[in-house]
């Protein structure tokens, strides 16, 4: 037998930066003003706004504005604090366990994800009952907004 082989450790640490694109930039700018922007493309509605229809390549024809209220379509309970979420420098305002919800605004053809607070995740029966009814929710905005999706701290039920 020869001696143990040498173990070599490494990590890859690369820096990246790129434009979010024109449409996404407009959406993020809207969040700073507490506006949740959408658009219409070929008769369909998108919240958040979308740069183009990926089936027809049509461009948006109309800009839509909302206060961000919507309904919950689906959810799951997070039991552990997620590491390395989309914007690691942003503060997640909720402690585990917490809920992540799929939210639809104004019959949008596309939903989005966000945190949901104001419901006790430890009471699944209550949760199921509320969401089954298409729970109506509204955004709770961060005091300081920098133009990213966590400018909304979380969603809460509209009583």
């Amino acid at each position: 037998m020869k001696a143990d082989t040498i173990e070599k450790e490494w990590s890859l640490d690369f820096d990246f930066s790129s434009s979010m694109g024109e449409t996404c930039t407009e959406f993020m700018e809207g969040l700073k003003e507490k506006k949740f922007l959408g658009n219409k493309i070929g008769g369909r509605t998108f919240f958040p706004m979308k740069p183009f229809c990926n089936q027809t390549f049509e461009l948006p024809t109309e800009r839509l504005e909302s206060d961000g209220s919507g309904i919950v379509e689906a959810f799951t309970v997070y039991n552990k604090r997620p590491e390395g979420v989309a914007y690691p420098d942003s503060e997640i305002s909720l402690s585990p366990p917490f809920i992540i919800a799929v939210i639809r605004i104004n019959d949008s053809d596309q939903c989005f994800l966000h945190f949901l607070s104001g419901i006790d995740p430890n009471k699944p029966a209550q949760l199921l009952e509320k969401v089954e009814a298409g729970l109506r929710v509204r955004p709770v905005w961060a005091e300081e907004r920098h133009g990213n999706i966590l400018d909304i701290k979380y969603y809460e039920p509209i009583e």
């Binding site: 694109g21 024109e22 183009f52 089936q55 390549f57």
Partner: protein
Amino acid sequence: MARNVAVIGVGNTEYTSAKKEKKGRSELGRACVKSALDFVGRGLTLSDIDAFYFASADAFEGVQRPERSTECFGQGFATPVYSINTGGTAGGSAFKTAYQAVAAGIYNIVIVYGSSSLISTVDAQQILNSASPPLIEKPCGAGAIHMGAFFLTRYQEDYGITAEDFALVAAKSHKHAAKNPYAHVRKGYTVDQILASPMVVSPIRLYEVCPVSSGACCVVLASESQAKELTDTPVWIKAVSSTSNSFTVGYRPFEGFPMLRILAKKLFEKVGIKDPLEEIDYAELFNPFAGFEYLEYEALGFCGPGEGPKLVREGITDLGGKLPVNLSGSTLCTNSGVAASVTRHADTCLQLMGKVEGERQVKDARVGLAHAWGGNMGQFHTLAVLSR
């Protein structure tokens, strides 16, 4: 029996510095694919595309599987998207794979998409340098340009090649790129300006190195019956092939590109080309460092060893010469990552279609050759012989 396959369309976006790009990945993709659909016209839409072949080198993109996050490949129609990664050659490898699928009758119309791979890199060298063999070569700080320099210093020594020789072939690219609306660096640098530019890694000077560009490129491939319906200027794919070499650069002989020589010999035999200089009308060769064009002439049999500069001095590979090469400016003037390897095919096709802008059209070009080079310093080469 393989079906005949043609390139029927070419798509491009504007090319600029990767740091100046204002479009996101999907927006660039839409612009590129739409430009190809519009190029073909005749009612061709995204829903007619049977599959996409996405070419990139993932490490540069800063996301897991960039083909998923580029939302313009007919995902809404459940169109299959295949990802091909052989580094800088990925466009050539994807072209080959797409060709095989259409030739085999699996698909009728497909798009080969070369990603604008470098738009997210802060310093492309970080990633290029990480591509070297990690135990012995990478700790020396050797990245792509250093590895490239080894081939060129050896070429100088073996054949008495001068700094001016390198500047001459660089100036040929810069001169034509200045008139190419799809080139990034359009300054038209002269031999004197190139010789006066700073030495980056000897013997390679600043204006003999490719820029870091943004921009995407794609080509549309179709089977014979679809091609005849959709275009009056099909460019037929006569043969496509690829080869691989050692990952360890130290294993290479540094005497030109011997693997490319073998690849070319086999491919030319297959299509019956005996004298490439006489029988090929146009070539797009991958030249991220200007001097590589000479090594490629020699490997492809355009001339004998050490005779590359003679071809440029005599204008043989310039517009009006016997075999014009790189009238797009090639990779030296526009290197938008993996898109650049698709561009070699696209620009060759444009020449054969007779649709080149900017006083660069080669008269009556019938047979073309497109080359891609990449992986870890020429680890891979691909070649495609195309014909009007």
